[in-house]
């Protein structure tokens, strides 16, 4: 059983297999469930992700009206051919946004690793799919590779915004996605770990400050940037760039930053964007609606 990224990489490289395979083997060992069942369960999760993206790209609105429709705007913009940062990145971003817009609208999603950060992994997966043409099995493996890195973060740090801020949610998701992109593109397990480290370094300190306590503002747009961050970090790692700080130490730094983060900035809607004049105004307006609804 791997306890950290170094062990995960070592296991994959010594056996000359993908990180996904190490995760699958561990799942078999721990649960005693067959490989077929485990692959089938992840296949169903992948289907939920596909359906969420599809729904989001048609356009959804949350109950509050705070979020929805941005995925459609981005897709239309891509079609216009005027995009500056490139269609693949924008496609990843729009699909990450689509997933989170569905989540905010109380639709069905698959948490990766959480609901608030559920857009990054599928967003990047379905974007790189068009470039790399993976098989269904390889797409399922993408999720196991993401899961392996998320597993380390969850056990050694945190994936909860209330415990560690948004760096623990979108930060973790972004790192997980970057590592999985690298593996799908043919990178080595070490390169996957470098991508995770590079990504997470750029998410350190990110606070969780949702307006009105809703998983909407700024969560949806943080998923957008999480997806973009993952794509760039994956390309950097594939180019041969390494992180001076090893991945496990970055994860540890994230954990310690989370512990010292003020409570106001850990999913309590008391600080940051939630405490801005506009944030407070929206909160008052929305709670008016919510109160009437539940009583």
């Amino acid at each position: 059983m791997f306890r950290n990224v170094a062990e995960l990489v070592e296991l994959a490289e010594s056996q000359n297999v993908k990180i996904a395979e190490i995760m699958i083997q561990q799942e078999i060992d721990i649960t005693g469930v067959t490989r077929e069942e485990i692959m089938g369960k992840m296949d169903r999760n992948l289907t939920v992700m596909e359906e969420a993206v599809e729904r989001g790209l048609k356009g959804v609105q949350s109950v509050t009206g705070l979020t929805g429709g941005d995925a459609v705007l981005l897709q239309n913009y891509i079609q216009s051919g005027k995009s500056l940062s490139g269609n693949l990145i924008l496609d990843a971003v729009s699909k990450a946004v689509a997933t989170n817009e569905v989540n905010a609208a109380m639709g069905t999603i698959c948490a990766t690793p959480t609901a608030g950060s559920a857009g990054v992994v599928p967003g990047t997966l379905f974007a790189v799919q068009n470039k790399l043409n993976p098989t269904r099995k390889e797409m399922i493996e993408f999720l196991f590779t993401s899961g392996a890195f998320g597993f380390v973060v969850a056990n050694n740090a945190s994936i909860s915004g209330a415990a560690g801020g948004c760096q623990a949610e979108v930060g973790s998701a972004s790192g997980m996605a970057a590592a999985a992109i690298v593996e799908m593109a043919g990178g080595t397990p070490s390169q996957a770990a470098e991508a995770m480290a590079i990504t997470l370094k750029n998410m350190l300190g990110l606070v969780c400050d949702p307006v009105a306590g809703l998983v909407e503002v700024p969560c949806v747009k943080r998923n957008a940037m999480g997806a973009a961050n993952a794509m760039i970090a994956a390309d950097m790692a594939l180019a041969g760039i390494t992180s001076r700080i090893p991945c496990d130490e970055v994860i540890d730094a994230m954990y310690k930053i989370g512990q010292t983060m003020p409570v106001a900035l850990r999913e309590t809607a008391q600080g940051g964007l939630a405490a801005t004049p506009t944030g407070r105004e929206l909160e008052a307006k929305i709670f008016g609606i919510a109160l009437n609804k539940s009583e």
Partner: protein, 220 residues
Amino acid sequence: MKYKSVFDIIGPVMIGPSSSHTAGAARIGRVARTLFGKQPTKVVVSLYGSFAQTYKGHGTDVALIGGILDFDTFDQRIPQSLDLAKKEGMDVTFVEEAAITDHPNTARIKMSDGLKEIEVVGISIGGGKIQITELNGFELNLSGMNPAILVVHNDRFGAIATVTNILMKHSINIGHMEVSRKERGEVALMAIEMDTNIEDDVIEELKTLPHIIQVTRMVE
């Protein structure tokens, strides 16, 4: 290790918007209902920390009640659970607590049906994963993900051994076990998580043992 399965990370499939505040809350509610054994008629939920601050925005209230109505995390009825509970005659009260708890996402659920009452404390630790940390004043650490039994017994020597002997006889492997008591020699609680489901006849056999007061099954 807090997280054991890759499906704790890639999953659960759930109704949005928050894995900790919606899916985790639904799971806490559902485990509490399982512990109670049936649908209660009266529910009082006290919310602490981030749960207390943001429960309306996250749908934590509808998720907890959805769980108490026995809905899974992906059940499309969760958004309507408060109305559904009302229709089924369940009296629901939410209390926002200011007290600081060990974990920011904590819910204390009191349930009754006029005959019996239980009090369960659950925490949502992220990604939809939960722990039950207290039952009727006894400290616990249950995930709610594995088959488990809760055995209320008198705190006497040999009480634990008699229970584990029966499990051994039926080839049931214990994955995790805790014992907890309020005072020496008084009532105590064994929480036993197992790798396999436990049959009714084994539960009945456990109930006949000396010093055993109550045996409750808790299955996912």
